[in-house]
Each structure stands twice: as C-alpha cells, then as structure tokens.
C-alpha cells in the first residue's frame, strides 16, 4: 500500500501536499481501494471557502459512497477537471493524476498525520 512521505494525512483518508500557501488534496491509495472502482466525484467550484473538517464533496463507486472532508481551511483555487470524464484516475493514480482540489490555505487541521503515523493507523 503506497503512503508517500512528504504528504500529510487525515484520519478520514484524505492526503494533503503543502507547497507554499497552496494545499493539494486527494484521497489515499487505501481509501480508493476500499471504495473500489470510482464512478463519480462531486467537487466544489473554485472560489468556495472551506473550514478545516468541512465536507467538500463526495466520491461514489458502484457499491459505496463516501463524503470528503477538508484537512485545511481556505479557498478552493483549482479543481481537477479531468476527474469528471475519468474518475478512474483516483484508482489508478491517487496521489498524482487523481488529485481533487487545490486550496489557498489559511490553516491546517491540527490532527494531520505523518506518513508513518497514517501507516500505523491503517495497521491498527
């Protein structure tokens, strides 16, 4: 199970990549595997303001659905438009091609985990 270092992880299985004041958010390899083949992603439009822990969308597979929670607070500045046509990118490439939103962030959730701690969470 891939859990890249250098990313932060939420207990609700989102990952965050911090670059300057921009946070890129997606779901982990574990999350996509649990859901199975993803068929649809609902994401907020750019300009949406999010609080840390807020629901920002949902993912659906054939047999499951899951809400997405923002690990940061801030304003959505970009949305991965490729996911509309190819939601399977989240399955095939969860940490790169399957990214969901970019947020100009003002705060991080205090409960974010390191790669090692997230790995422990999954083992527990």
């Amino acid at each position: 199970m891939s859990i890249p270092e250098g990313l932060k992880y939420a207990k609700t299985h989102e990952w965050v990549l911090i670059e300057g004041d921009t946070a890129t958010i997606g779901i982990t390899a574990f999350a996509q595997e649990q859901l199975g083949d993803i068929t649809f992603v609902e994401l907020p439009p750019a300009g949406t303001s999010l609080g840390s822990g807020d629901e920002f969308g949902s993912v659906e597979s054939v047999k499951a659905a899951s809400e997405l929670y923002s690990p940061v607070s801030g304003e959505v500045i970009a949305v991965n438009a490729d996911l509309e046509e190819s939601p399977g990118l989240i399955n095939s490439d969860p940490y790169h091609g399957g990214w969901m939103i970019k947020v100009k962030f003002s705060g991080l959730s205090p409960e974010l985990l390191s790669s090692a701690d997230y790995s422990k969470l999954l083992e527990a």
């Binding site: 649809f40 054939v62 047999k63």
Partner: protein
C-alpha cells in the same frame, strides 16, 4: 395447512436435527409474557370459498357502464395482451433485479420503459418509476430543493388538488415554503405564476392538461424560472402526450406523470405508476432505481441497476430518497401498452378521447343555463357550470345509471355548481347523447 408442504414426518425429522421436540420450541426466545393476549381471526377457508367470498364482495360495487369520471384517472382501453404478458410468473413473482444475471428480463424491460418515457416526453433520463403521480411530484420537488438549495416551491392551483395535498403532507416537517397560485374559473394567469418565481424559488410546478382539462404551453413560465435559477417541473397525462407539446419542447427540467392511463386498471386507486424524467444535468438527483446498459465479461450486452450510490441501501440517511420498492410491474404494463399501441395507436386513443369530449362539450354547452367553464383549449376533459348544485345532478343521474363526472367542489371554493366531465375512447356518441339528455332533463327541473 395451505401452502405449507411439510409432511408430519418431515417436520419431525427437521425438528430432530435441531434437537427440538415441538414447533413451539423454536420460539423459546419470546418469553410467555410477550406472547399474544389474543389472536382472534376466523378459521381459514378453501380456495373456492375465498373466491366466492370475494366475488360476493365485489358484487356489492355497482357496475355502471355510462361513466364520465376522470380527474386524472381515466378508463382507457387496455389490450388483452397486457394482462396476458404481465401476469407471466417470471415477471410477476421476481424480486427487484439485484442479481442482474438472473433478471435480464426485468432489467431490459425497465431499460426499454425508460427509453419509451424519454421518447414520449422528449426528456433525457427517466427512472424505473416511483409510486404514483403525487409521489413523483413530491420527489421532483425534493430534487429541486436539493439541486438549488432553496426552500420555496411555487405550485399552480390547477395541479391535481390531491397531489398538492400529498405534497404538503409529505413535506410537513421540512420547513419548505409552498406558495399556491390561485386560478380564476379553472384557469391560472401565467403572468401570476411568473411573478411568483423569485430568487429563493427552488421550482415552479405546473400540470398539462390542467385539472380542469385545459391544454397549455408553459414555455414562457419555464423560461422565467430558468432566469431566476429555479427548476421547472411539469406533470402530464401520458396518453395525451401522444399529441400534446412535450415537456422537452417546453423546456421542463423535470417531467412527471401518473402512468395509470398507460395500461393500469382504475383499481379503486391503485396500484398506479409514478413516472419521473429529467434533464441529463439532473441525473444524479433523480431518486429510485435506474437501469443502465453495459457488457459482460465476454463483451455481450446486458443490463444492470446503476447509479445505486444515491440510494438508501448505500447512502442511508444521505440518500436522494427513501424509496425501495417501486412500481416495476406497473411500469412493465405501461411499456407493454406503449409497444402494443405504438405511436399510431396511442395517438388514436388520444384523438378519439379528444373528439368525444368536444362532441360532448358542444352539446352540453347548448343546454339551458349550462355554461362551459373552459375558455382555453381543452383535451378530453372539461368543466361546466350547472344551474344548481352539481352534486344534485350527480345524485340524480347516478340513479338512472349514468355517472356524469366528478365534483371539483370537493377541493375548490365556489365550485359547487361545477361538474368535470371526461371522455375516453371507451365512450361513444350514443353514451354521450344519453348523458346530454339526462343533464337536459335534470337542468330543466332546475330551471323550473
């Protein structure tokens, strides 16, 4: 015991495998104090006795052949093949098609039903059905509330009054603001509908033909709704849709109907069929089951329930609706009806109903002191104002074996003298002549 195949020996063998002595031992987890205080039902009957009992009961309903009752529920011709085919046990006694490979018959039929509805209404997407026309309006309203995140619904008073009552009952705890636009002599001024649509409006809900039978074009109302970011919901009459301007042509976002007129007997109120369709944009908001076409491992075409992640068995409290069972068999009957009649047969039913209603209206309007209520074009149903209480006319005519229509006064103020008269292709000119004569003799008494 009826329907229980076990012999005494088998029962004993099965109990003995379980190391139990009696059937009662199976219920040891139900303590004595929770057992029934009473269970006072009659003894069972034979099949023949049951049939006789229910035949006798049905005989207590009057059989009145001269019937002009409609009000949204119409006695159209149902080809014999609809009953013959829909009563096949393979359709009748199957469950919801959860195991797709063992339910391709039901699944392909639903796919064909969805296709037929989309073509009849000129809409993008149809679901596999909801319960009836009223629950379809309710679900459509909920779709609009979710899609727009607004809570105001503007509804025309010439939408079926019982559907409006259902809408208010079913939404009682949802803090919605339902605004009803009043009519004048059965016709609502479209400008008043347009004026009521504001920036907080989730949807405008209208009906075609209206409860009073008028055919309307709501294109301008729907355009106004679109400009305010509200959705346009149109409830229609499927048979009449063979000839009338379609929901798609008018720009409806959601088109619904009661499918009773497509192959369902009147059945004293049900089961009927809630037809729902919408634009592609709203596909993820439409509740209930939907069938999609796909392929199997070997590339062969097949059908499955799809988009299930919106439904209650997956989304639970966050589902688009709580609907589970729908009206699958009624949808199948509607599909069979549409296939047997074809575009020509359906149009013939609509046209014959139209021409008979106009034949009737032309004659009834000439009766002394009787006035047509409909000032706009109407379809197979129309309302007249009588020179006295319409309920008196119905009471009198029923005694002579004619049911002349229904009474809008049950639901509308100042309508005590109004009678709503419907015709279908099952009526004929001779029946209408008898109705006209009966009304003439009653109204003559009134005038004197």
């Amino acid at each position: 015991m009826p329907f229980i195949p076990h012999t005494a020996e088998e029962t004993e063998a099965m109990l003995s495998l379980l190391e139990l002595k009696t059937l009662d031992d199976l219920f040891s987890y139900i303590p004595q104090e929770m057992r029934p205080g009473q269970f006072d039902l009659p003894d069972g009957l034979t099949e023949y006795e049951v049939i006789r009992k229910l035949e006798d009961m049905s005989g207590r309903n009057a059989g009145i052949p001269l019937n002009f009752m409609g009000a949204g529920f119409y006695n159209h011709v149902i080809p014999a093949a609809v009953d013959a085919l829909s009563s096949r046990g393979e359709f009748l006694t199957a469950y919801t098609p959860y195991q797709a490979e063992a339910a391709q018959g039901t699944l392909q039929a639903i796919f064909e039903y969805q296709t037929a509805i989309c073509r009849l209404f000129e809409m993008d997407v149809a679901n596999a059905s909801v319960y009836d026309g009223g629950s379809a309006i309710f679900e459509a309203a909920m779709m609009a509330v979710r899609a727009t995140r607004r809570a105001r619904l503007v509804i025309d008073s010439t939408v079926h009054p019982l559907y409006r009552k259902m809408l208010s009952t079913l939404t009682a705890n949802l803090h919605l603001d339902i605004v009803t636009i009043t009519n004048s002599d059965g016709l609502t001024d479209k400008n008043r509908l347009i004026a009521a649509i504001d920036e907080n409006t989730a949807a405008v809900i209208v009906q075609n033909p209206t409860f009073f039978g008028n055919a309307r074009d709501y294109s301008d109302v729907f355009e106004a709704a679109k400009n305010k970011g509200a959705l346009a919901i149109l409830s229609v009459y499927p048979v009449m849709q063979a000839v009338l301007k379609t929901p798609g042509e008018m720009g409806a976002d959601i088109a619904v109907a009661d499918g009773q007129s497509l192959g369902q007997p009147l059945n004293f109120g049900g089961p009927y069929l809630g037809i729902m369709s919408c634009t592609q944009k709203l596909v993820r908001q439409i509740p209930g089951r939907i069938v999609g076409r796909t392929t199997d491992q070997e590339g062969k075409t097949g059908y499955v329930l799809t988009l299930q992640a919106r439904e209650q068995h997956i989304r639970r409290a966050r589902a688009t609706s709580n609907i589970c069972s729908n009206q699958a068999l009624c949808a199948l009957r509607a599909l069979m009806q549409l296939c047997l009649l074809g575009p020509q047969g359906l149009a013939n039913a609509a046209r014959r109903s139209l021409e008979l209603a106009h034949y009737a209206a032309d004659k009834i309007a000439l009766l002394p002191k009787v006035a047509m209520l409909n000032t706009a074009p109407f379809c197979n149903e129309f309302a007249v104002r009588l020179p006295g209480k319409a309920s008196d006319a119905v009471r009198k005519l029923a005694k002579t074996g004619i049911l002349p229509g229904v009474l809008p006064g049950l639901w509308y103020p100042d309508a005590d003298a109004v009678l709503l008269i419907a015709c279908t292709e099952k009526n004929n000119e001779a029946q209408i002549d008898a109705l006209v004569e009966a009304l003439r003799s009653w109204s003559r008494e009134m005038v004197i």
